[in-house]
Symmetry: C2
Subunit: 320 residues, 2 copies
Amino acid sequence: MSNVKPYAVGIDMGGTNTVMGIVDTRGKVVATESVKTKDYPVFQDMIEAIATTLRKLMGNVGGPQVIAGIGIGAPNANYYSGNIEFAPNLPWKGVLPLGEALYDALGIPVAVTNDANAAAIGEMTYGIAKGMRDFIVITLGTGVGSGIVINGELVYGHDGFAGELGHTRVHNGDRMCGCGRKGCLETYCSATGVARTAREFLTARDCDSLLRKLDPDKITSKDVFDAAQQGDELSKEIFEYTGRIMGEAFADFVAFSAPEAIILFGGLAKAGDLLFNPIVEAMEANLLDMWKGKIKVLPSGLASGDAAVLGASALAWKAK
Amino acid sequence: MSNVKPYAVGIDMGGTNTVMGIVDTRGKVVATESVKTKDYPVFQDMIEAIATTLRKLMGNVGGPQVIAGIGIGAPNANYYSGNIEFAPNLPWKGVLPLGEALYDALGIPVAVTNDANAAAIGEMTYGIAKGMRDFIVITLGTGVGSGIVINGELVYGHDGFAGELGHTRVHNGDRMCGCGRKGCLETYCSATGVARTAREFLTARDCDSLLRKLDPDKITSKDVFDAAQQGDELSKEIFEYTGRIMGEAFADFVAFSAPEAIILFGGLAKAGDLLFNPIVEAMEANLLDMWKGKIKVLPSGLASGDAAVLGASALAWKAK
């Protein structure tokens, strides 16, 4: 058993922070540290910063020789190539050899995937999807991402970019999306989409609302949630609207891969019944009869602070 | 090598005919026969008719001992259970133990799947998808079916019913579907959907058209194709309309599984440029930038008479 390495590294690279963690085989984060992504406008400097931080963290548990691998979840990262490709929310432009650069710096096997896929692997390995072979994770953040698992395997597609469900079009949707197209799911159902709906509703109506006390340009999905919790009718309606659009989209996703569950991940997923009730209602109304009452919609089963790091670390065990 | 059985049986069960074929390892149909499905209102009689016909066919090539297995593609058939479940277009109601009944009758391993999945397996084994690990087959017939292959494996989903892409909703679609929902892809893009568009266009406009010579209630997609081939403008427009809706839907399918190709199967797929040009144009206009120019849209690579039997037979080699 001396060959079995008891730890893996998980890295969650985001536009603001890059969080690194050392995780044991049971999914316990035993050490963690982070650096500010934006402090490193030169990509190679970021790699050095990660390597330096990891050397320190690994030193705490017994050095690189006890590390099975490094898994990284990053926006627009490609599993096949190990590259980040044209990520709009990271400081570096073009195609960046993330996996290769980190392997060169540390000599430990590295596996790369996008952040939503890392979340799906995390749910399958340590979270609410343990034991499931067919499910979809939807990440609700600045955008809407997705990680799809079929037959127990993550779906990468022929080019490594599968699972862009945030960029499927919603029924009758016409909002402009950052991708240049119209009506994408993420223009309605991301955290920023919820804030956009709030601004639209506030302009279109003249009803009272707690949200009117806020600067409309600065309203966040959290503000809408807080107001809804206090009984604000307009805010509750914003969640109903968001949930209905999501539920209709979910019915189409079910027609594709017949998942056992659709799992919501990210800040908005904590909105609970406010969001889940309209999602389930709209999904059920739009499912083919044979699926009615059979598809679960669940919140993430991972502790929010560690979720992305855990997901990335789960990928690390298979890194080569 | 005496254990290697050189033949498989493929069965294509449809609402009208049930075609049986004996296929060799290279995908050559060496013997074929069919019975009329509607002649057997009692399910067990149908099983007996298939068994009797197969005994005769198998006798021609060396008897049951040279047959590796039987594969059946049938509407609403479930790979996991081997049952046909609530098929609206077959003479028998409820849940029918197709795989079990045929195994009991013949003692040869049987594998069951739905007709669109059989087509996908056929394309992968003998057709245009040979060597592809990620593709989608769309069957265009009375309805629209689909067989999805990811990582070289057919997608069955958690319950065996995945791949109902004909029942995803098209953008702004509102036609009533036989499934009880509105705006399903198959209400626009099946052969019957094309005929429905023809009737709608003929009613809504007063332009000249070759189609006006026909009884509107009896117009078929073949009539529209023939008229378009003769230069009929309205008929060409019907294909453009159908293709645009299909192309928009395909862009969403690509966002799900990033397939290398989408393959069209069935009579309508023979419409050639009339249908493929507007499909590709609309798909490209709706794809995320990273996929533009990279996803193939292809016609089936299987000879039409044998396609469904070949697809079912391909499943038979793995039957247990």
